[in-house]
């Protein structure tokens, strides 16, 4: 890891930077820590004044959440739907962004902006028509309809992000390999793909997160079979009754898987477009 950021930084400076960075990181993460802490409090402790930093942890909220809803079912739906739509989305977006970045035509920029403008349509206006269509083709409350919708929703974002990442790739690397006699396919698979992997990874992660957290369509088009985690959350944010500890527990359960995905992919995400090495 050390090699990629150039010459090693002196230890003293590293520590100073590290201290600042860690304070920042912990501040950003604090609301989540606080939520996780609340998830182990009783409902009374969760609203205590002054707020409790030290308390007897309890698992009762997790037990209550588990008793009320089948967490695994929701997680499975979320995983299948977000992964499914992300794979589909990348399969469509990678070639599109590749072509736009490396073979730009006169209409490329216009097309890109137009794509983004499809995101501006408020979904509330089309809820009813989509619902009726879903009903006609028998796709209400299925994972399929959510996968398709999320793919379409995330496609413009994915194309955009990939386009910018592809644009970062120095053209001379590719020129050089073409001169060496590589075919287009070889250029793509051997030279280009390793360079843009971090970009694809962060695009993929973004698409997973957006699908994971999407609440409007997932709540409106699912009932019991295809309901993903936002529906799970919506069953714990009550307008009646004390619920913060239980909601915290449910939310912790809902973000845990995606936090793990994020954690696993972070090396991939920021390993860096190692252009320096190829020069």
């Amino acid at each position: 890891m050390a090699a990629q950021t150039g010459p090693a930084t002196p230890i003293g400076k590293q520590l100073a930077i590290g201290a600042v960075a860690w304070i920042v990181a912990l501040l950003m993460f604090f609301p989540i820590i606080w939520m996780v802490m609340a998830s182990f409090k009783t409902e009374v402790d969760a609203i205590a004044t002054p707020p409790l930093f030290v308390y007897t942890p309890t698992l009762e909220n997790y037990a209550a959440v588990n008793a009320q809803a089948d967490y695994l079912k929701f997680v499975m739906n979320s995983v299948v739907i977000s992964l499914g739509s992300t794979i589909l989305c990348l399969a469509l977006a990678v070639p599109c962004a590749f072509a736009m970045a490396f073979y730009p035509g006169p209409r490329t920029r216009g097309t890109l902006l137009w794509m983004l403008s499809t995101k501006m349509l408020p979904p509330v206006g089309v809820l009813v028509p989509i619902y009726l269509i879903g009903k006609q083709i028998g796709l209400l409350d299925t994972r399929t309809i959510l996968i398709v919708l999320y793919t379409l929703m995330n496609l413009p974002i994915a194309v955009w992000m990939l386009y910018t990442f592809f644009k970062e790739v120095p053209k001379d690397i590719i020129e050089a390999s073409r001169i060496d006699g590589a075919s287009t396919w070889q250029v793509i698979s051997v030279v280009l793909l390793p360079l843009v992997m971090p970009g694809i990874a962060s695009t993929g992660l973004l698409s997973i997160i957006l699908s994971w957290n999407e609440a409007f369509w997932s709540l409106n088009l699912s009932a019991s079979n295809a309901a993903p985690l936002p529906a799970f959350i919506a069953s714990f944010s009550a307008p009646q009754g004390l619920f913060w500890a239980k909601l915290s527990a449910a939310s912790t359960m809902a973000i845990a898987p995606i936090l793990i995905i994020g954690w696993l992919s972070q090396r991939q995400l920021v390993r860096g477009l190692t252009f320096g090495a190829v020069k």
Binding site: T42, E43, V44, I47, A48, T49, A67, Q68, A69, L127, V128, Y131, L132, K135, L140, D141, L219, N220, A223, S224, N225, A227, A231, A234, S235, F236, S237, A238, P239, Q240, G241, L242, F243, W244
Partner: protein
Amino acid sequence: MRRRSLASFVGLGALAIAAAANLNAASAETITIATVNNSQMVAMQRLAPNWEKATGNKINWVVLEENVLRQRVTTDIATNGGQFDVLTIGSYEAPIWGKQGWLTEVDDLGDAYDYDDLFPSVKDAVSVEGKMYAVPFYAESSFTYYRKDLFKAAGLTMPEKPTYKDIESFAAKLTDKSKEQYGICLRGKPGWGENMAFFDTLVNASGGRWFDESWQPQLDQPAWKEALTLYVNLLTKYGPPGASSNGFNENQALFASGKCAMWVDATSGAGYIFDASNSKVADKTAFAAAPKGSVDTGTAWFWSWNLAIPKSSTKAAVAKQFLAWATSKDYVQLVGKTDGWPTLPPGTRKSTYAIADYMKAAPFAPIVQQAIISADLKHPTKDPVPYTGIQYVAIPEFQALGTQVGQNVAGALTGQMSIDAALQQSQATALSTMQQAGYL
């Protein structure tokens, strides 16, 4: 162990009955039930396996927060989507949807159901022209929670039926902001089901109404000004900070953690406040009727949660079986025996208030019963009105209108708008809404 063997014995018996019933009924089916996540409904979900075992049917649950659920099921029912077989709906939707012909009539659940045991006001709330379109699961009203320890320490006595004048003078004496003790907590978060639920009862108590008999908005009338002035005065002087974003939950949290001396809100919150594992004030809380205003009518509100069957359901017969079970006298007994008597689904059946165990365990029960009996949805206030509903107006346009007026009320509360400006804007909004919807 004993309990379980008893349960399985009962289960077996029920199975036998179910098997007999199955001879002429269709084979076991799976129904989908959409419901809110209030504690009473969560209890129903927990107890439903009893029914599943007895009948051999299966249930898919869709449990959602109230506002999400409302939007979800409205989409489905209005498009004839057919995703649900049983819906949990409020007393606001039941008559509107019934009138549209979207709900199956549920007048035929059998003699054992004992329709006459239901409180008439509860039955009326879900009926259109004498036909019932939903069965009541539980009903609530509003009343005054107060801290008897604080009252005693200050040498005050809460009358059985306080007036807002009493409340104001108590609040003044019981507010001690240095100790984070606030005289009164009331809802302030904008929303037709949040601050407006309380505020509408205050308007009624002041003799105001939303519309006159020809649907002309009346929000610029003196009664509204009287109500809003009182409301703003109470909360700014004696209320907690941040009152404008407190809904039912936030206030319940405040009261349960001992910050409020008084709280006027839903009776359904009493179970929680009385539960020592949830609240610090379980043994220090007492109840009085909702406060009375300058006129004699209109003090408490009325709300019920009901089970209904959409017309689009293809499994109405099984769904009816479920309705008959979940809102029966036997179900009430079952809850009492398994979850404890204070948590019975309240306010729907006269027989519930004849259960000695319940009356003993739930000191708030008589006030609730009284409030439900005296609720009159057709005459919420002094003057006649063209609508039904006490703290709401049972027309489709009300959710949007109520929420907008709620924003203005909150604006007046935080001082962003003057009281007059808030009411003028509300009147203009109401007028525009009614014109757009074709009432005027």
